[in-house]
Symmetry: C2
Subunit: 338 residues, 2 copies
DNA sequence: CTGAAAGCGCTTACAG
DNA sequence: CTGAAAGCGCTTACAG
């Protein structure tokens, strides 16, 4: 294996100088630096992370703790975080937790381990507010970034507020003439996505409509829960003419169930979701939804995790108005944003 | 930080004995072993991976090299691999490569790095046959597992052959009375999924139908390419009454385009896909498709990577017959398999 | 079955 | 701007 000493010999400098070049330390003459860089390239040298970590107390590893679920939101965060880590010279350690088995990620045998000694940890929903994990990470003394966290506590919170964009989405439905608009709301109160419910209510009130509790049904972000909500809402004495679901998967459940019951989308029922997931484009009619800048959030999280400033960071939501509300009959052929 | 010496002191043994217990070496008295294990638990000790790696030439890290694409197939492999790594006491290092920018993962600045010194590497499509990457991994002397690889060469090949299950799927369409069956085939010849085309042709021939080249259209696994294929196929003088797409995303493109053109599914056109992706269940009617045991393949890959035997390993494909061919009007409410 | 020595490939202070 | 010493937390041989 090529080591720092091989590079030093090849470049005719002390191995310490090589170390300085690798770490971008200023105190190296330009000529030396270039000589070392040539040697590194010629030998194909890659510093051993483990040695750097042991000596320098820095691992260049970030751990992402994610649930083992099929949600595209999770997959998109995972991929974007991994890509961003690479971009800044870090490595991503993925810790995937099986939430289905209901094991405590802190206390069970299968608990999350920090033996890779990451430089920082990123937590995403539904763990962003998991007190046990947060406590464990704090006691390990690890920097923490919590994406879409609601509560305070240890760590940097990357808060998202979906209220305003949801207001805009509901206004779109109101402009189309809908007055009875149902919502499939997040069941768990401790989620950032609750701001979507606030936006829904605010938009209705602003239009002079009193939110009807019968039109608010809970879901757990799955397709099945969206379908069940649709069954319930469409059975109401005064059924809604539009339904907003707090996630695309639930919205697709609403759409499918409505179609199964014989309603046409959007003629009989308009449907809107949230996430701009890849699957929101795969149905006919395509689903109206809200684009969340997941890649940018992942970038921000990685930068926050390693203590770098990120310039030009804006969490810019965007309405994606499509056939499921507008009646537009074209397909969505562009690739999904990441 | 708690080190091996702290544990030794706490347990009243030499630190070498602790090391032996951690590594499960046999030469330790049962009593000693238990004493050490208690100390480890009491102190919450977790051995530093970097130190073990440096001293023992073993990192307990597996690298997965994956493309940065939105395909659920990729996300499912990623998640399953990460979960399996955890299960066997390893850590997953994710290297996500931006294929969109067309940068060479071996030669570009952004090339894949092995500075984490993984114990093994796992390659998935479309990299499973990437000669450059395979060569790099071989020259690093790293064990390699290639999931769904086609060609020979360095590394353990986890081959999949989809021919037989595709035959079964086409037979299902034939039984429904379809005689003109179109296919959206993989464009790239170097993919394991080409076995799906072989199965398609074999099933037709077995039924006494000569495959019609006009009914074979190429796609690149995206929704858009499926939609384009449908446009083309449905414009044929003798249009097909059923279309099999070699991936679910392409099948959904076929379905959406057909619906847009006013055809009813499956009355006017039956559609079938491949993957049993989560999104295959999110549409109405639900998509007939083939379940691929991705989680089991990931398990097998991880075990092969670390040189362990995996008992009871079967790549068991399964037909998932749903409304897009059968006309069944129920929704698919169970969670997707992983 | 248990222990003391050497060393993995680097970085961190500290000199010059 | 550059170098020689010490040490990060472990495992690998080698003794006993």
């Amino acid at each position: 294996m090529t080591t720092i000493r091989d590079v030093a010999r090849h470049a005719g400098v002390s191995f310490k100088t090589v170390s300085r070049v690798i770490n971008g330390e200023p105190a190296v003459r330009k000529e030396m630096r270039e000589r070392v860089q040539v040697a590194i390239r010629e030998l194909g040298y890659q510093p051993t992370l483990a040695a750097r970590q042991l000596a320098g107390h820095k691992s260049y590893i970030i751990s992402l703790i994610a649930p083992r679920v099929a949600a595209s939101y999770i997959a998109r965060i995972m991929i974007a975080t991994a890509a961003e880590c690479r971009a800044v010279g870090y490595h991503l350690n993925m810790e995937v937790i099986d939430v289905a088995h209901d094991r405590d990620p802190v206390e069970s045998d299968d608990k999350v381990s920090f033996s890779v000694k990451p430089d920082a940890v990123i937590l995403i929903p539904p763990f962003a507010d998991h007190a046990g994990l947060i406590g464990q990470i704090e006691s390990e003394g690890l920097p923490l970034v919590r994406i879409a966290a609601v509560g305070g506590g240890y760590g940097t919170r990357l808060a998202v507020n979906d209220e305003n964009i949801t207001v805009a989405l509901i206004e779109h439905l109101l402009e189309l003439g809908h007055r009875r608009i149902g919502i499939v709301a997040p069941a768990s109160p401790k989620l950032a996505s609750q701001t979507r419910v606030l936006g829904y209510r605010r938009a209705l009130l602003a239009a002079g409509i009193t939110p009807d509790p019968a039109l608010e049904v809970r879901g757990d972000f799955t397709f099945a829960s969206g379908a069940a909500a649709a069954t319930q809402l469409m059975a109401l004495p005064q059924r809604p003419t539009a339904i907003f679901a707090a996630s695309d998967d639930m919205a697709l459940g609403v759409m499918a169930e409505a179609q199964r019951l014989g309603y046409r989308i959007p003629d009989d029922l308009a449907v809107a979701g949230f996430d701009d997931s890849p699957q929101s484009r795969l149905v006919y009619p395509a689903l109206t939804t809200v684009f969340q800048p997941i890649a940018e959030m992942a970038r921000a999280a990685v930068h926050a995790a390693i203590g770098r400033e990120l310039e030009n960071f804006h969490v810019r939501h965007e309405l994606r108005l499509r056939g499921s509300t507008t009646g537009d009959r074209s397909l969505c052929l562009s690739q999904a944003d990441f």
